[in-house]
């Protein structure tokens, strides 16, 4: 009991640091992706800090409340709260932080679905057609991708015997995962394709349609929540792909500072690699407009492939 309390007290500053880093990095990561996409497309590349500046400027502006949206006013804050809660549950640099026992793949996917749903509800508030069409498209995508999540969870459960994120990553960190690495990488790819609604081509135009009637601090909260959701999906997928980079807690004590710094570096490296993959996917393969069905198909393909590779590895050595 005392040991748990001690671990919790010592881990709280680390959790705060993790949360602050995630919040600080989320708009930067989106800025990096947009910068790369614009640069590769030959357009003038905006600064990577542009989104941060925009969010801060929005937060300082006077809010705009369209007629009929009084009921959805609280949805913006709740959406940001759901994104922050998801951030707390996905480890970035170290395992074993306070609240790690709450983290579960399905719970995190559900919280990130709530973020998407908050955007949808806000857009449907005024009841106008253009924002409504974009919101319905978002809700449809969210509902369709629900079919992929259980398959990914099945892969994690079959491979490691646990579906809790902390336990899963700790098991992969410790054990010999030579045969499990490939299926979990494929499952992480499926998770990334199914979950990342806000980073594909056309997502910006769709979000602009959805949030056309929202302004001021509400808009700032929703934009920050969108960025956080993208970063949480990328962090989760990155953790599953390379769990070795995470620092482990030593009993009740937090990880050593050097291990923590190494974990932080590994997180940045994973995120950078995934950003590069996302840019490549946005430029080369998929756009949002016609890609919803393709995304579902590709995500399901990755999930099924992960199961096949997992069992092939078990049966043939």
């Amino acid at each position: 009991m005392m040991r748990d309390v001690l671990a919790c007290v010592l881990g709280l500053p680390l959790l705060g640091l993790h949360l602050a880093l995630m919040v600080a990095m989320a708009p930067v990561v989106r800025g990096v992706v947009d910068w790369c996409v614009a640069g590769l497309a030959g357009r003038g590349a905006p600064s990577v800090l542009m989104r941060w500046r925009w969010i801060v400027a929005l937060a300082r502006r006077r809010g705009l409340r369209a007629a009929g949206t009084a009921a959805t006013g609280a949805a913006c804050g709740a959406t940001l709260a759901a994104a922050l809660a998801a951030c707390c549950l996905v480890p970035s640099a170290a395992l074993g932080l306070p609240g790690a026992g709450l983290s579960d793949l399905l719970v995190v996917a559900g919280l990130l679905g709530l973020v998407r749903l908050g955007l949808v509800v806000t857009a449907l508030g005024p009841g106008v057609a253009r924002a409504g069409r974009a919101a319905v498209s978002g809700a449809t995508g969210l509902a369709m991708m629900q079919a992929v999540m259980p398959v990914v969870i099945a892969v994690a459960g079959l491979a490691t015997g646990v579906t809790g994120i902390d336990g899963l990553l700790a098991r992969m960190h410790d054990a010999d995962v030579a045969g499990l690495q490939t299926p979990l990488v494929l499952a992480a790819m499926a998770l990334l394709i199914a979950g990342l609604d806000d980073a594909w081509g056309g997502a910006e135009a769709q979000a602009a349609d959805m949030l056309a009637n929202v302004g001021g601090p509400d808009r700032a909260a929703l934009e920050l929540a969108r960025d956080l959701a993208v970063l949480v999906w990328m962090t989760l997928a990155g953790d599953m792909i390379w769990p070795g980079g995470l620092a482990m807690a030593e009993g009740a004590l937090p990880p050593a500072p050097t291990a923590l710094l190494a974990g932080l570096g590994a997180w940045l490296l994973r995120t950078a690699v995934l950003c590069a993959g996302l840019v490549a996917a946005r430029v080369v393969v998929l756009s949002l407009d016609r890609g919803l069905r393709a995304r579902l198909g590709v995500a399901m393909l990755f999930g099924v492939l992960a199961v096949v590779v997992l069992f092939a590895g078990r049966e043939f050595g």
Binding site: C88, G125, A135, S137, A154
Partner: protein, 564 residues
């Protein structure tokens, strides 16, 4: 006629097997009936306070409560068969009563003590049919006014009694263990029916029918869970059976009470704002904030948003499917993977149906004069609804409390005898059947609350200016003409948009218009030809009966002579 026949079939063994002095022992509240009786009593209390409760619904609830308390298969069958015509109508009821009579007759031999062999082999079929009709499940994916009845409080009686029936007749009463293939079959059919229910909820035209579809989807999930409990018992996996049973007990108490709250709120709102046809109603959140918030919360539980009771049921379902026995490598894993995908599809359909109903009814603008003139309900009229929602909320946040109350039933389903002292379920945590994970709804609520508090404090510290009210941007659409006082429907979000978008992405209509439609046409043509051939054969036989008999005698004689 069939009803009378069914009841007679069920009653005849009862007269022989139930001695009169044993009657008090037959009608009793045992551990397994507690989860269901408590929920039915709560449903009765909540719906009894409505302004004009249906007498038939009250009678159905009373009969359901009586049936759930019986420890005898015959009386249970009679009770369930009595409830059935009160909540359903049509040809399916006769089939259901007949199936129930058959199932009861199979179980009636001394309470199933001497049961085994061929009886166990055919028992799940009538039980499945009985429960399907009792819970209003149907394979029809589209919701039409002719085929789907609006949900009422009486339907909850059928839902809860259907769950009870599945557990009693498939798990508790049979003396032997029903085979695992039957469990897989029941689960598979349940999953298909859940998907059909979700599709009906998504395509329904009014709010009560959306709720009927949602209730059907959860009924299918209950059937899947009963199938998992059967598999767990058949394959000696008590933890799987225990996990499935606990999830099945959580379903009526959490989701059932939330659906009841939604049904009652919708009926209250309909009295104020007119029929809740999705194409015409709208904007109720601004006009009826209290009722709107209650309906939104009830829908959030019923469509499985985290970390509420619907999500907890889906989480436990996924974990139970992961705990299924595995054999033969990848090939043996395919059924559970398909079931997991199916569970995801059900969850997605429920989510989209809930968002569609909530967004169209509560958000946007009112579209009819009566809707525009609706006033909010006083808190006193929402007391019963809030009580139901409170029960669903407590079960959502502290599911362990409900599981602790029903722990003996779970152990009974898992065939583990009496619950050991140290093996009580945790109040705060839900555990996976296979030990693959834990889920703490209260922890997630606390985390969510802390994050919400941080957001609130930061927004207060930021000292932002109050929001400026403005007209919604109409994307350059011209102002509505005078004969459209509630705006041009083409510039608003309608219920068809949700289904249309899903259809456009998946191409379902194209599929239906193509191969499936041709297949259905071919089957119908074959049926017509078969009927015509049958008619002609009957007419020919009637006209030339004597010649045919003589020909048959000649042919038989020749064959006998030839055979020696």
């Amino acid at each position: 006629m069939v009803l009378v026949l069914g009841l007679a079939m069920a009653c005849v063994p009862a007269l022989a097997s139930v001695p009169l002095h044993a009657l008090p022992a037959v009608v009793r509240v045992d551990a397994l009936s507690v989860p269901f009786v408590v929920v039915i009593a709560a449903v009765g209390l909540a719906s009894g306070t409505a302004e004009s409760p249906s007498t038939l619904a009250c009678a159905a609830l009373a009969c359901a409560a009586l049936a759930a308390t019986t420890g005898n298969p015959v009386l249970f069958g009679v009770g369930a068969a009595t409830v059935l015509p009160m909540i359903r109508a049509g040809r399916g009821v006769a089939l259901g009563v007949l199936a129930g009579a058959v199932a009861t007759a199979l179980l009636a031999d001394g309470g199933g003590a001497a049961m085994g062999g061929w009886r166990l082999a055919i028992l799940p079929a009538p039980v499945l049919l009985f429960a399907t009709v009792l819970m209003g499940l149907s394979p029809r994916p589209l919701s039409g006014a002719r085929h789907v009845r609006p949900a009422g409080a009486g339907d909850l009686a059928g839902f809860v009694l259907g769950c009870c029936l599945l557990v009693r007749m498939l798990v508790d009463w049979p003396a032997g263990r029903i085979g695992a293939p039957w469990g897989m079959g029941v689960g598979g059919i349940g999953l298909l029916l859940a998907m059909a229910g979700g599709a009906r909820a998504l395509t329904a035209g009014d709010a009560p029918r959306v709720l009927a579809g949602m209730l059907a989807a959860w009924g299918g999930v209950a059937m899947l869970l009963a199938g998992l409990a059967v598999v767990g018992r058949a394959d000696d996996l008590p933890l799987l059976a225990l996990g499935a049973a606990r999830t099945l007990f959580l379903l009526p108490a959490g989701v059932g009470m939330a659906v009841l709250a939604a049904i009652l709120t919708a009926s209250h709102i309909a009295r104020e704002a007119g029929p809740l046809v999705l194409a015409r109603a709208g904007g109720l959140a601004a006009l009826m904030p209290r009722a709107g918030a209650t309906l939104a919360l009830a829908l959030a539980v019923a469509c499985g948003l985290p970390p509420l009771a619907g999500f907890a049921v889906l989480w436990l379902l996924v974990q139970s499917l992961l705990a299924l026995p595995r054999a033969d490598g990848l090939a043996g894993e395919i059924p559970s993977l398909l079931a997991l995908c199916g569970g995801g599809v059900v969850s997605g359909l429920l989510l989209l149906a809930g968002v569609r109903m909530g967004a169209i009814l509560l958000l946007g603008r009112p579209r009819t004069p009566r809707c525009a003139a609706a006033t909010d309900l006083p808190p006193a009229r929402l007391m019963a609804v809030l009580s139901c929602l409170g029960v669903a909320g407590v079960v959502s946040v502290l599911p362990g409390l409900w599981l602790w109350l029903t722990r003996a039933a779970g152990w009974q389903v898992a065939a583990l005898g009496a619950a050991p002292e140290g093996a009580r379920p945790s109040l705060l945590w839900l555990s996976a059947a296979g030990g693959t994970g834990t889920f703490s709804p209260s922890g997630i609520v606390l985390l969510f609350g802390l994050c919400g508090g941080v957001v609130l404090v930061l927004s207060r510290l930021g000292g932002g200016l109050p929001a400026r009210p403005a007209a919604a941007w109409t994307e350059g659409a011209p102002p509505s003409p005078p004969w459209m006082p509630f705006g041009d429907p083409a510039t608003q979000v309608g219920p068809g948009l949700f289904v249309g978008r899903l259809d456009a992405v998946l191409g379902l209509t194209r599929l239906l218009r193509g191969a499936v439609r041709r297949l259905i046409g071919a089957v119908r043509r074959a049926g017509r030809w078969g009927a015509a051939i049958n008619d002609r054969a009957a007419a020919l036989t009637a006209r030339h009966a004597m010649v045919l008999v003589l020909a048959w005698i000649v042919i038989a004689s020749l064959v006998r002579i030839w055979a020696g």
